[in-house]
Symmetry: C2
Amino acid sequence: MPDVIAIVGGSGALGGGLARRCARAGLEVVIGSRDRARAEQAAASLLADMPHASVRGTDNSAAAALGDIVVVTVPFANQASILDEIGPRLAGKLVVDTTVPLMPPKVGRVQLPPAGSAALAARERLGEEIALVTAFHNLSAEKLGAEGDPGCDILVFGDDKDARERLIDLTTRLGLRGLHGGPLANAVAAEAMTSVLIAINRRYKVPGGAGLRITGLG
Amino acid sequence: MPDVIAIVGGSGALGGGLARRCARAGLEVVIGSRDRARAEQAAASLLADMPHASVRGTDNSAAAALGDIVVVTVPFANQASILDEIGPRLAGKLVVDTTVPLMPPKVGRVQLPPAGSAALAARERLGEEIALVTAFHNLSAEKLGAEGDPGCDILVFGDDKDARERLIDLTTRLGLRGLHGGPLANAVAAEAMTSVLIAINRRYKVPGGAGLRITGLG
């Protein structure tokens, strides 16, 4: 049985791109949204393109309950409240936080939160018992949703190596290259790099968005 | 007249790689070290390989005084004391800090300093009047010293766009691709990424060291 992937905040751009890639790979996808109707609409839109995909929409909390892997794709401003909301549903699951601490309007400037990073904020919020990794900080929603290899890497952070490995296996199934980036404390590198990529996109007008590649791995 | 490049801490690995690349590009290089004899030895070693290069060695403070561009390549633990030492020599120069806040023995784990980053620590130390950029965080000493294009990017951070541009021009002369990474506040991304690259090197046993490439720029 393949894992069920729940995407909390899955009606947003990043979550939508991830849902599309997961559905295309034949995974069972549950899209969550604060507004259940929006989630159902997002699911219907994916099914219109991929009639044989397994996708449904529901509210965030129900989506979290249904997923084996629960990916959180919400704006930083909503991270704490959403994690509090879905927290009781997360026992035994792998949680994948994708939050980047962008502080509008200056999203091209690194502004780290008091916890040090969104990853450490998530850890504080969820407690030590829940398996937590963070990833998907540096890939644009557009590239995530598109077909094929985007040529960028997915840095995966987490204090538990097996949990990281499980997400890296998922990235492989999705046609992406996931890499062990080290402990949760290291996630700040990828989170901060998102603002750098935004600054680069603005300055160099990068079509499709700049990405990050680790060189030397062959 | 081409710029004189002073490399403070230039008898170390990163500084030595940079000195080699600068000398090969025909730039006038002054290697600085706390130990003047070590700097002279490093210069002699480069001259043995490149007899027509313009390289000399002296102490850090004298090197800083001679450079138009002063690159600081010292361990984080020495950053504050070295900047204090050379500070009086830096008026009117472009200072390029390359410091990464690695805290041995856990250098594969991001551990940011109280100032938030080595870049912001340098700014505090030097004051607002001195032109400061930071760069060369993510390129291994080996790749920096080698011939040709390492296939990695040099992210350049600084609050003054013209100062960044001046260093990017230098990277171009060195056969490297420098990119505007945004303000000094953004340097934390590249600094933290160094620990991630160290973690990746250890885990994946990357020959020659992992590097960072920004994709999408053509």
